[in-house]
Amino acid sequence: MMVMVACAVLLPFLGAVGGLLGPRAVRFAARRAAWRAVRFAAWFAVVPTAVAAILAGVAAVRVLRGGTGGTAVAGTLTVVETGSLPVAVGLEVTRLSALTGVLVTVVALAVQVYSVGYMRDDRRYPSYSAFISLFTSAMLLVVYAADLIVLYVGWEIMGLCSYLLIGHWWEDRANSRAAVKAFLVTRLGDVGFLFGIFVLAVGAGSFRIDDVVTKYPAMSTTVLTVGTLLLLVGVAGKSAQAPLHTWLPDAMAGPTPISALIHAATMVAAGIFIVARLFPLFLAAPTTLAVLAIMAALGMLGAALAALAQDDLKRVLAYSTISQLAFMAGALAARDDDAAIFHLFTHGAFKALLFLCAGLIIHRAATNLMSGMGGLRRAMPITFATTTIGFAALMGLPPASGFFSKDAALAAMGAAPGAAPGTAPGAVPSAVPSAVPGAVGWILYGTALATVAVTGAYATRAWLRTFFGEPRAQTGDHAREGPASMLWPVILLAVPALLLGFAVPAAPHWGTAALSVALALLGAGAVYATWRGAPDADPARLLGPLRRACEQAFYVDTAYNALFVRPVRWLAHAVVRADDTVVDGAVRGSGRTARGLSGVLRLAQNGNAQIYVSGLVAGLLIIVVGAVVLG
C-alpha cells in the first residue's frame, strides 16, 4: 500500500526531471523541430501523471472500502535526527488524503492533456510540462505527508512551481512581476505556517501529524490557539484568503491550464485541506474559528463583488475562486469539515472546467477581455454547453454538483448560530455545541446568503457577455471550436461537475437549498434585466458608484503597495546609503584619521636638529617628573 502511494508521489517527480533534462539532451543531440521535442516531452508529462492517477485511485478505493478500518495507513522511510525533535520522512493515507489525492491527479491529468494542445507552438513546453509534473508530485506530497516538515517541503515546492508557471511567458515584464508577487505573498504565509508547525510540534513533542492530532488535549489552549492561528496565516497565503489574497488575480498572467490546475483546483485548495486534516486542533481553538469565520465572511462577499465588476474573464474566475474558497472556510468555521471538503471537491471539478473552457474561449477570441467577446454560443456549441454546466454548478443550480455542496455548506453555516429559522436539524453532524459566538455566526450566515446572490449575478453576467449579444471580436470569423485534445479533457471534467453532487449520500436540506436557489436566480434575474436593456453595455453598471471600487478589489492591492512595498524599497535604499556612509564611513574614517595624524606628526620632522633635541629634553623632563610624582 505504502509503496503504491510512494510511487504515486515519486512518478511525477521523475517525470519532471526526465522532462527537464530529456528534451535538452534530445535538442542537444538532434536539433530537430520544436514540435518533435514537444511530442517527446509530452510523453514524459502525461504518462507518469496518468499512472499516478490510477495508483491514487486504487489507494483511495482500498482505504475507502475500509480495508484498513477507515484509519490511516502510514509508513516511514527514515528518521532525520535534527538535534531536538526528529523529522520522520514518511507518508500516510487517510480517507481525506485519499480522496484529495484522486482529485489532484485527475485534474492534473486533464490539464496535462489539455496543455499538449494549448502549448502546441510554444518552444518552452518541455520545461512547462515538467514544472506541472513537479507541482503534481509536490501536491501529492502535501496530501500524503505523515510529517509536518515533509508537508512543509511539499507546501513550498508548490509555491515555487506556481512562481515558475505564472512566469512562463517571462518575456513580458508584467508576468514576471506577477510571478514574483505570487511567490512572495505565499512565502510570507509559509513563514507563518512554519512557525505554526514549530508551536504545535513542540507542544505535541513530535513533528508527526498523527502525534499532533492525538496529543492536542495535552496542549494548553494558548499554544493551540497561537499554533492554529499561525497555521491560518499559511492557509490564508496559500488559499488566497482575505488578507493575503491579492496575488491570485495577478496569477492569471500565467497560461490558463495553470490557472485551472493550480489556481482553481489544487494548490489553493491545499489550505482548506490542511485545516480539515488538522481539524480536531481547530475545533479545540474556538478563537481561531472565529477569526476564520470573519476572514471567510470578508473574503466571500468582497471577492464576489469584485468578480462582478471585472472585465477580464480569467480575473472573474479568479475572484470567484477566492469567494468559493472563503465559502469553504466559512463551512469549516461552522465546524463542518465534511461540507467544506465536499464543496472543495465539487469546486475543484467545476472551477477547473470553467478555466479550461475560458482557455478555449480566449484561445479562440484572442483576448481575455469580455468586452472583446460576445455571441460565441453558435460558434462554439460544445464549449458553450460545458461552460453553462460550469456556471450552473458555480451558482448552485440543481442538478449541478455545486447545488449539493453549496447547500451542505450553507446548512452548516446556518446551523452555526444555533437556531436558524426553519432548518431541520438534519444530518448536520455538529455533535459539539456550536461555540461560534452568536454574532459571528449571524454575520457568517448573512454574508453567505449575500454571496450566493452576487455569485448568481456575476456568473450570469460572465455567461451573457461571452456567449450572447453581438460578436464584438475584432478578428472576424476566427471563432471555431478548439482541437480535440483540448475538448476531451473539458468534456471529461464536465461529468463530475454535473454528477458529483449525487455521489454524496447526504440528502440536501430543502429549506436552505430553496432559499439559496431563489437568491441565485434573483441575482441572475437582476443582471439579465440590466443586460436586456443594453446588450452591448456591461451589466456591471448596476453596481453604480461601487463599480470602480469593486474593479480595483477595494484598493487592497494599492494599499499593500503603499504600506509595504514602497517603504521596504525606501528602507533598502536607506540601508545602502547608511551602509556606505556610516558603517563603511567609520572604517574609511579610521584610515583617514590615521593618515591625518601621520600628517600632523610629519610637521614635527622638519629637519631642524635643535627641534629634535628640544623635543628630546622636554620629553625626558616629562618622563622624569611623571616618574618622580607617580612613582
Binding site: E156, R173, N175, V191
Partner: protein, 505 residues
C-alpha cells in the same frame, strides 16, 4: 565502512596539508607553458582531494564525536605550540567542502583562457588551500591562529593582482580589516592560554571552561567572538566583504565566499562555544541580535544593489546571519543548523559566484541595469542555472539552503535554558521576515536579469555554458540537491559531536 583504528593513518591528515604546500613551492621553480601548467594545477588539487576523500571513507561515523586521524607533534615548545591536527564530525564536512571547491576552481581555471600570470595565481590558490585546510584541521589554539592568518596574504594578492578596477583599495581593506580581527582573536586565545596554561583545544573542550572564571570567559568570548565575527562577517563588521567580492576574480570570490567565511563560523563551533560555555551564555543574546540584524540588513541591502556580485556578497552577510543565529541559540539543533548552513552556503554561494563570474565574462559587466535582462532568451542554460542557484539560495525546501535556515529558526524557537525565550522568539520572527526579504531580492534580481525582453548588451561570442564550466558546476548542483533531499547525510555527522560539547555541561 570497517572502522580503521583512528591513529593508524596519521599520514593521511599530514598529506592533506603537505601536497598543496609542496605544489605551491614547486610552482615557483617550474617553468611550464600554459597547457602543462593547467594540468599541473588540476593534478595537485586533485591529489589533495584524494587524502581528504580517504579520510572521509576511513572516518568512523559511529564515533563521529571523537577526534580521528590525530597527529600531535611538538613544534615550538617555547610557545607551547604543538603541530596537533585531527578531524571529527564538525570539521570533516568543512575539510571536504574546501578540497572540493578548490578542485572545482582549478577545473574552472583550466578552461578559462583569459587569466594572465597563471603560475602566480595557482601558487596563491594552493597556499590559500593550505591555510584553509589547516584551519579546519588544527586542534591547537595557536596553530589554528597561524593557519587562520596563512590565508590573508594569498587572498590579498589574488584580489590585488587579478581583481577588477578598484582592486587595490578593496584588497587593502580586506587584509587590514581581517588582520585586525585575527589579532584580536589572538588576544582572546592568549587570554585562555594564560588562564588555563594549555593550548590544546580537545582538552579545553573536555574541561568545559572549568579552569576559567566567568568574567574571564566573557572577556575571552567577546575578543574571540569579535575576531571571528570580522571573518564571518557579522553585521557591523562586514563592510570589507562587498568590496572584496566585487573586485575579486571569479575563482577568488568562490573561495572567499565558499570557504573563508566558514573559517569564522567554524571558530565559534570549535573554540568559542565549547571552550567558553559561560561566556557563550552571557554573550549569546548579543550574538543573536547582531545575527538577526545582519539577516534583515543584508537582505535590504541586496534589494537596492545594482552590481550582481555585490548583491551576492550582501546575501552572504544575510545567510551568515542565520548561521550565527544558530550558534547564538546554544542548542544542539541550533548548532547543527549552523554547521549545515555553513556547508550549504559554501556550495550555493560558490555556485552563485561561478555563475556571476560567467555572466561578467560574457557581458563584460555585472551591473544589473546595464545587463538589461532577457538572459533566459539568449543564454538559456546559464539563465536556468542562475535561477536554480538563486532558488537554492533563498532557502527553498528540498534544496540545501532550507535546512540550515529552518533548523536555525527552530533552534531560536526553543533556545538553551537561561537564554530569554521572548527575545529569541523575536529573533525567530525577524529571521522569518528575513527569509521573505531574501526571497524578494533574489526573485527581483531574477526578473531583472533573466526575465524580460533581451537587453541592449549582447553576450560575447563565447555563447552559452561551455563544458569546462559545466564540469565545475554540476558537482555543486548535485550536492545541493543531495543535501536538500537527504539532510541526514550531514546532520548525522555533526550531531554526535555537537551533542557532546553542548550536553556535557
Amino acid at each position: 565502512m570497517t572502522p580503521v583504528p583512528a591513529l593508524a593513518v596519521p599520514v593521511l591528515i599530514v598529506s592533506v596539508l603537505i601536497v598543496p604546500a609542496l605544489g605551491a613551492a614547486l610552482l615557483l621553480g617550474l617553468r611550464l607553458q600554459v597547457r602543462a601548467l593547467k594540468m599541473y594545477g588540476l593534478a595537485v588539487s586533485g591529489l589533495t582531494l584524494v587524502p581528504v576523500v580517504a579520510m572521509a571513507v576511513t572516518f568512523d561515523y559511529r564515533r563521529a564525536a571523537q577526534i580521528q586521524h590525530e597527529v600531535d607533534l611538538p613544534w615550538i615548545p617555547g610557545l607551547d605550540l604543538r603541530f596537533h591536527l585531527g578531524v571529527d564530525g564538525i570539521s570533516l564536512p568543512l575539510v571536504a567542502l574546501t578540497a572540493l571547491l578548490t578542485f572545482l576552481c582549478f577545473v574552472y581555471l583550466s578552461g578559462d583562457r583569459r587569466t594572465e600570470r597563471l603560475r602566480a595565481m595557482m601558487s596563491a590558490l594552493l597556499l590559500l588551500e593550505v591555510g584553509m585546510l589547516g584551519t579546519f584541521l588544527a586542534l591547537d589554539l595557536l596553530l589554528f591562529f597561524v593557519f587562520f592568518e596563512v590565508v590573508l596574504i594569498p587572498m590579498y594578492f589574488v584580489i590585488a593582482i587579478w581583481g577588477g578596477p578598484g582592486r587595490r583599495a578593496a584588497a587593502l581593506k580586506f587584509i587590514l580589516y581581517t588582520l585586525l580581527g585575527s589579532v584580536v582573536l589572538l588576544l582572546g586565545l592568549l587570554l585562555i592560554w594564560s588562564q588555563t596554561g594549555t593550548l590544546d583545544i580537545v582538552a579545553l573542550a573536555h574541561s568545559q571552561g572549568a579552569a576559567l572564571p566567568r568574567a574571564v570567559q566573557i572577556v575571552a568570548f567577546v575578543t574571540i567572538g569579535l575576531g571571528l565575527a570580522v571573518k564571518t562577517p557579522m553585521w557591523p563588521l562586514h563592510t570589507w566583504l562587498p568590496d572584496a567580492h566585487t573586485e575579486a576574480p571569479t575563482v577568488g570570490s568562490v573561495l572567499l565566499a565558499g570557504v573563508l567565511l566558514k573559517m569564522g563560523t567554524y571558530g565559534f563551533a570549535r573554540i568559542a562555544i565549547p571552550v567558553l560555555p559561560d561566556g557563550a551564555h552571557a554573550v549569546a543574546p548579543w550574538l543573536g541580535a547582531f545575527a538577526v540584524v545582519g539577516i534583515v540588513y543584508g537582505a535590504l541591502a541586496c534589494l537596492a544593489q545594482r552590481d550582481l556580485k555585490r548583491m551576492i556578497a550582501y546575501s552572504s552577510v544575510g545567510h551568515m546571519g542565520f548561521v550565527l543565529l544558530g550558534f547564538a541559540t546554544l542548542t544542539p539543533v541550533g548548532v547543527n543548523a549552523a554547521l549545515f548552513g555553513n556547508i550549504a552556503h559554501g556550495l550555493i554561494t560558490g555556485l552563485l559566484f561561478f555563475l556571476a563570474g560567467a555572466v561578467k565574462d560574457r557581458y563584460g559587466t555585472a551591473d544589473m541595469a546595464e545587463l538589461g535582462g532577457g538572459m533566459l532568451g539568449r543564454l538559456p542554460y546559464l539563465g536556468s542555472l542562475l535561477t536554480f542557484a538563486c532558488i537554492a539560495s533563498l532557502g527553498l525546501p528540498g534544496l540545501a539552503g532550507f535546512w540550515g535556515e529552518m533548523l536555525a529558526l527552530f533552534g531560536a524557537f526553543e533556545p538553551a535554558e537561561g537564554l530569554s525565550r521572548p527575545l529569541f522568539l523575536v529573533f525567530m520572527a525577524v529571521g522569518g521576515l528575513g527569509t521573505v526579504l531574501t526571497a524578494a531580492y533574489f526573485l527581483v534580481m531574477l526578473s531583472r536579469v533573466t526575465h524580460g525582453p533581451p537587453g541592449p548588451l549582447t553576450p560575447s561570442a563565447v555563447g552559452d555554458v561551455r563544458t569546462f564550466e559545466l564540469s565545475a558546476w554540476v558537482p555543486l548542483v548535485l550536492l545541493i540537491l543531495v543535501f536538500g533531499l537527504w539532510p541526514k547525510a550531514l546532520l548525522a555527522i555533526t550531531d554526535p559531536a555537537v551533542q557532546t560539547f553542548l550536553e556535557a555541561r
